[in-house]
Structures are given as structure tokens and as C-alpha cells.
Symmetry: C2
Subunit: 479 residues, 2 copies
């Protein structure tokens, strides 16, 4: 770690990255390489002797970049966004530069304290109930991903209920979600040992725009209680991955609360929009929840990984996740004067991730962040309008945020053929390299997803995307 | 994401970080702030409007740095190191710059393929058995931390055995480790639902230098079998956190293999040393294991997070951790042509972490990396020599790698007073700000730990550290 070498190479890499963004539109958005391409280009063993920065950067250009799918391209409309921004990038860089571990307060007090402060800042921007603030028994914490956020609260909830009913009751515990809940939830249940047959996946349909129906939940809970099972966890979503569906938190919360269930809300994508007063309504009812998560690394300009989790009762987390070996003991922790975030998460190690969120909030300010979100939603509205004007296409579910779910309409009610055509259209569009869209299935229909949210996306990119989609569609339809 | 703003701010931050390393010795190694210090310095709410880069950098200098414990300081000797290096930093920066998600092959083929290639490179440097290479059914993967590495193999092992004996046998499963195994293992067992009374924590003592005794394991396994329980997982360690103890892999492996138990080896810290032929012997027997992990972010110049995990049977991982929702389906995955690392880990999201390991291996080369390790071990040997020459001190366990476990010797066999004095010595040394050491307990003795491994540490820092320790000790002893 030579400071002058860091300076020299660092400056060169900054220019490399800045140039990458300048030319990002020249790459195919979806990488067009074939499986195994890189094995053919790189040696089988590590070099014995140092290579130069030039050699490495040449290889990045010639061998790595062709295998990159450009998530930061303005024409990336697949999945949900994974924002990188100048401020988010700088924060990540500073964190890597300082190279500290913030698992206990003592190992870098600033890391723990800044995290508590910025999570409070964001809780206030989202107008979360006071119980989620760090001043009481609640608080926020940065997790690596929504999967980890859900995993830690599921463990906390599991241990809490097992403390009451006995360790051997694990096989009686029942969780509830909808068939639109992210697959991470199912995986998480599997990890903590919930029996697969005790995972209630409640069906949704177009009648509620794929939102979970409270009546269905109540019914399932009642049946499980009658069968002697123990309903203990409900996972609702604001902005599902498939179609950005919004589960009705207030009504669901009533059921969860009256049955002593832990209620978690996953707002990984749409949570960011809720800092705008006009979208805050979609998390109304959050006061009934036990925990709430959103991913700042999705649509909030903060580089991965930065998933935010708030809980009302930090004790339930730390009771489930604390370790206290001699080699980590220190006066501040032993005297209970501080928060040690190692006891709020799965791993021990943790980097200074709050720096990037802090820099995003300071270098942009909350007003600009609201306008950033509003602009993407406006662009999505424009795209929705373009789709709805074309008789070959239909909007499948009403657009609320920046995701448009659409498809080619079936000819002669042939849904099977229609699904195939939509798949073909997706392939054709993505193979063009001009944009990247993904798909999902809703009630058996293959649906195309245009998720707007890359920082560089402007009106012209959305229009160009639609032109490519229309062109490929008309080629397909007239073939 | 304006490329010219990134360029301008990026250059400024590079200089800031380079200057930080230039002046790193001017900071107290262990932060000397009091709990809650930062809340008094920062506002309660996020700013509405943008602030300038100058304001932010001024705050980093004035408010953040005083709360930082300087893990990259040449006088940081606590815990184990968390290496940052020019190459590791550049790799992290490039990954943040590209801002891609590599959860499925298709989402950035280069991310998956480079990871497979560099994990093969490192497996070869470690001379791991061929079954750990990616060409067969084995392979390596980057996890965030050792905790996650152990968690995924524990889930894989649990599911494998439950598939044979039935889901309801969870309460019969037994795991084995020593009382020196990292607390992460206990936490992991708790997460996956292993009954606490089924976690065998086998006692170690000075007679084996705190290594797990195979005889004790055999005895415990036999007893559990007789009691109708199911021994299914053994976690051994090469280089424990307390004292760098080395469990005898070959003998333990025999017992694990003959009882059909999953055998994992955690070499988080000492694994790095095993790239040197003269230290490779300490993982002899690795051929009997099912999985092996080491953390490149500890002592291998690769910035956090970069924990390497190799398994012989990738199917057991993917059978336990795969999800396949419609919105992630793609031709390459469906045709089974590619590896999707999302199915080898807990979270869905994953960044391009192999870049930093690749840059470390290329910009330094394996010969320099071996010498880097050897130099730290030599410095530790020097420190050990200094300690052993002072009659007030003793070496508590034989030093093998770069950790020296030592303490003030008890006066008149008063072990209790001796423990207090060692604690006081540690406090005095760390409060000086001149260096940072940590402690542990071995057979009830409080032991001081000097772990050498920061990239900037030179002979003079080790000598200075010893001078401070001696000075503080003589002040204590003559008070």
C-alpha cells in the first residue's frame, strides 16, 4: 500500500471509469458472449510475477467488458435498477480506501454512529413511525441485501416464538406471503428450517392487481390455528418484483397484530419512491409492522450493497444474533453503552457502508432525490402511453411507479402462441444489444417488463427503446 | 452519473485517500472518541439541498476520521488484519464503477466466469485437490464472509442428511467443533435450527496447543450414535482466532469420512500462508474435507469482502439454495450451460468481487504474495524473540504464523491478579494511540495478541510496539 502508487494508479482508473460512462452507450446493453468465453482468453494459472497496470486495463477493455451486461446503461430496463451514482461511487471508494471493519462500535465508532444517523435521516424522509428511530428500542441497520434483511428478522421472530412455545415447536410454525413475494422469502424460510408445507403462498390475481387479499390471509390463519399450528410471520411487499404490486399494509397489519405474528414489509424497490409525499400513501399502515426494508442500492443512487432494515424491537434481533467471545469483548460493549451491529446481522465483518448513503444524501439533497424518482416515474408514464397507443400491445397491470408491464396481445385468443411471441420479442430486442428488458409471468401470461430507473436514462432512451420494440414486433408479426 | 463530475470528484477523492495513507501514522490507531460523539456533530435530518464536495470532505476530516480505528495503520496489531492494498482498492473501485449485478451468468457473464477462473488459480496456488476445481462437480465461489461460507455449507449438509432421514429429524442432528472454533459457527448453527444441546464444543488445552483432539471427537461421535443421534457436520480450523491453533485435518477427516459427516475447514486467516510451500503442510489432509474456506480480505491484500469457499460437490449447495422464479429465467440457465452463483449463496444480489482478487494476483504475482506473507511471519518471529527476552513476559502458545500470544507473567502464581494486570496493560497500550492490540482467553488466562499483517507494517513498527508495551508494563509493575 504505497500512497504514491495508489495516487498514480487511482487517477488512471478514475479516468478509465469516467471514460467508460462517456462511452457506455456504445456497448451492447446485454452482453452477447457465449458461455465459457473467458476461459479461452485467460491463462489457467496465476502469474508468478507482477504484471503492469497497462496489461490489466487492456484486458479489462478487451476481455472483461465484452462479458459485461451494462446495468448502468441508460437503455437498461431489465429486472429493477441497481443504481450507481457519482456520490454512491465516491462513498464506496472512500470506504474501500479507509479499509476498516465496523462490526463492533470500538472497531470504528464512526462507522456505527454514522449508520445510525443516516438510517434515522432516511426513516424521517420516509415518515416512518418514531418506533423505528434509534433513540428508543428500535433502529435501522444496513444489510447486504433484502434476503439478509428478511433472514435476520425471520430468525428473530422464530426465536421469539420458540422461546414461548418451546424449541421443538419449529415444525408447527407457519409463514404467510403471496405468490408474488420475492423468491428470497422462500429461500430464507428454507434456511431457517420452516417446513415447506408450512409456507402459505397465497394466490393473487388481476382482480387486486396481484396484491395479497386480507380475506385470504385471515382464512389461512384461522385454518392453521384450528389445525393446531402456529402462525408467526407475515411478509408483505410494496412493489413486487414481477409487477410492482402493492399489498395493503394496514389491513394485513391488523390480522398480523391480532394474531401476534411478526409483520415484515419488503419495499426493496418501491420504498425509494415513498420519500415523495405523493407516493407515501403506499406504505400507509407501516405503523402496524415490526420491520421494514428497502434497498438504497436499487433506486436510490447508492451503490450495492446497501439494503436498509428498520426494526421496532432491536432486542429481538440481538437476542437471536449476538455472540460474545472473549476476543471481541471491550469496555464499551460490556457496559452496554453502544450498539454493536455484528449482533444485527449474519456475518461478523462489515465495512463502512453508511458513507455512501451519507454522501448520496448530502451531495444530492432530499429535494433532488425526490425529483430523480419523479422523473423516472414520468418516463415510465410516457412509455406506458406509447404502449397503449399501439393496438398490437396491451398494458397488463396498471403502472404506479416506474415499471411498465406490457405484452403483445394474443391473436384469436391464442394465449399459448401469444406467450411464445412475447418470448421471441424479448429475445429479439435483447439480442439487438440496443436495450435490455426482462419478463415475468402473471396468471400464466408471459409479460414484458420495462423498469425505468438507471440514472442516465432520459426521454430519448425511452423513445428509442419503444421504437426498437415496435420494429422487432412488426418484424415478428409480419414474418 | 455525470462522467465529468465523476472524473473531477474522483480525482479529488483519490488524492484525499493517498494523502490519508501518507499521514496514517499521525492518527491514534484506536479511535479515542466517546460513545455518541457523532450525534453531537451532525444534524438530525438529511439536507434538502445539495452540499458541496468540500463540505463533505471537510466533515470526513473533522468529524469522521476521529471516530475511525485505523485498520490499515502499520501499528494495527489487533484481531486479525483486514488488508487493503493498491490492487485490492483498484479492483473494488472498478467493481463499483461498473456497477453490475452478477447473480446469474446472463446478468454479466464476465463476473461469473472471472470468479471461476481466479478461484481455480487460488486453488492451484494452495495445491487443493482437483475435486475443488471448477472443471468437475466442484468449484470455488466468493462469499461475503466466513460466516456466510459456513452457513451455506451447513445448510447444504443439513438438507442432504434430512433428505435421507426425513425432515423431522432436525432435532437429532449433531455438529462438532472445538472450544476454539470461531463464534460464527455457533451463530450459524443457531440460524439453521440445530438444537443448542446438539452442538458439541470439544474442549482443548495447552497440551495440543489448543488443537482439537481426534480421540475426543471419536468419543463424542460414538456416544451420540449410541444415543440415537445423527452426527452430520464437523467444523475444523486452521489458524483459530484466539491463538492460531491448527486442528489436525487428516486425522479428523478420517473420523468425519467414516461417519458420513460433512467436513468443513475454516482457514480464514492462516489459509493465505498456505500458498507458501513451507506452510502448505498445515492444510495437509484437506483432501478429506468437503469444503474449505479462507478470507482473501484478511491477509491476502484483497479488500473486504472476499471470503473464498471451495466445495467438492456443488450440487449439494445448489440443491439447498436454488430459486428459479419466472422473472430470473433465461436460456443459458434453463439449458444448464452456465453457473449461476445466486444458487451458491444466501443473497440474490452480488457484485463483481472477483475483479479485486484478479487484480491482486496480477499486479503483485504469486511470488511477491508469498514473500509478503513470509515477511509478516518474520516480523512476528522478531516480536516473539523480543517478548521471550523479557523476564516479565511469556509466550503463551508457540507461534507458527504471524500471531504472537503473550502475557505478563503472574507474580507469586496469582493468576487472578495477573489477568487484571494484562487487561490493564492492554488498556494502557491502546489508550496511548500508538498501537492497537487485542486479547483473548486461553484456559482462563487473559492473553494479549499481537497479530502482524497490515500491509504497511515494517520492522520499526514492531520494535516501536514492543517499546510501548514494555514502557507501559514497567510503569504498571512499578506503580
Amino acid at each position: 500500500m504505497d500512497s504514491e502508487q495508489l495516487r498514480e494508479y487511482g487517477h488512471r482508473l478514475i479516468d478509465f471509469i469516467a471514460d467508460y460512462y462517456k462511452t457506455i452507450e456504445s456497448f451492447p446493453v446485454l452482453s452477447q458472449v457465449q458461455p465459457g468465453y473467458l476461459h479461452k482468453l485467460l491463462p489457467d494459472i496465476a502469474p508468478d510475477h507482477p504484471e503492469t497496470m497497462d496489461q490489466v486495463l487492456d484486458d479489462v477493455r478487451a476481455k472483461i467488458l465484452p462479458g459485461v451486461t451494462h446495468w448502468q446503461s441508460p437503455s437498461f430496463f431489465a429486472y429493477y435498477p441497481a443504481n450507481s451514482s457519482v456520490a454512491g461511487f465516491l462513498g464506496d471508494m472512500l470506504s474501500a480506501g479507509l479499509g476498516i471493519m465496523g462490526f463492533s462500535w470500538i472497531t470504528s465508532p464512526a462507522a456505527t454512529e454514522l449508520e445510525m444517523i443516516v438510517l434515522d435521516w432516511l426513516a424521517k424522509l420516509l415518515n416512518l413511525p418514531d418506533q423505528f428511530l434509534s433513540k428508543g428500542n428500535g433502529g435501522g441497520v444496513i444489510q447486504g441485501s433484502t434476503s439478509e434483511a428478511i433472514l435476520v428478522v425471520l430468525i428473530a421472530a422464530r426465536n421469539k416464538v420458540l422461546r414461548n412455545v418451546g424449541q421443538n415447536a419449529l415444525e408447527k410454525l407457519v409463514v404467510y406471503s403471496s405468490d408474488q413475494t420475492h423468491s428470497a422469502f422462500q429461500k430464507t424460510c428454507q434456511i431457517v428450517g420452516i417446513h415447506p408445507e408450512n409456507c402459505r403462498v397465497l394466490e393473487t390475481d388481476a382482480s387486486t392487481n396481484y396484491a395479497l387479499r386480507p380475506g385470504l390471509l385471515q382464512e389461512a390463519v384461522s385454518q392453521d390455528l384450528e389445525a393446531g399450528l402456529i402462525p408467526f410471520f407475515l411478509c408483505a411487499t410494496v412493489g413486487t418484483t414481477s409487477s410492482a404490486a402493492i399489498d395493503p399494509l394496514a389491513e394485513l397489519g391488523k390480522i398480523a397484530n391480532s394474531n401476534d405474528m411478526w409483520f415484515h414489509v419488503d419495499a426493496a424497490y418501491a420504498g425509494s419512491a415513498c420519500i415523495c409525499p405523493e407516493y407515501r400513501q403506499y406504505i400507509d399502515g407501516v405503523e402496524t409492522t415490526d420491520s421494514f426494508s428497502m434497498s438504497a442500492h436499487k433506486w436510490f443512487l447508492t451503490n450495492f450493497d446497501c439494503s436498509l432494515l428498520w426494526v421496532k424491537d432491536q432486542d429481538s434481533l440481538t437476542e437471536a444474533l449476538s455472540t460474545n467471545p472473549e476476543y471481541l469483548k471491550n469496555k464499551a460493549s460490556q457496559a452496554n453503552l453502544v450498539v454493536d451491529f455484528k449482533d444485527w446481522q449474519i456475518p461478523l465483518g462489515r465495512s463502512f457502508r453508511s458513507l455512501k448513503l451519507w454522501m448520496v444524501l448530502r451531495l444530492y439533497g432530499s429535494e433532488a432525490l425526490k425529483n430523480y424518482i419523479r422523473n423516472h416515474i414520468k418516463l415510465a408514464k410516457d412509455f406506458e402511453q406509447l404502449v397503449s397507443e399501439d393496438p398490437n400491445f396491451e398494458i397488463v397491470t396498471p403502472r404506479i411507479f416506474s415499471l411498465v408491464c406490457f405484452r403483445l396481445v394474443p391473436a384469436k385468443n391464442d394465449e399459448k402462441k401469444c406467450n411464445n411471441q412475447n418470448r421471441k420479442l424479448q429475445d429479439a430486442v435483447n439480442s439487438s444489444g440496443k436495450l435490455f428488458i426482462s419478463h415475468t409471468a402473471l396468471s400464466g401470461k408471459i409479460v414484458l417488463r420495462c423498469a425505468i430507473g438507471a440514472p442516465l436514462t432520459e426521454e430519448k432512451h425511452v423513445k428509442e427503446a419503444w421504437n426498437v420494440i415496435q420494429d422487432e414486433a412488426s418484424f415478428l408479426l409480419h414474418k
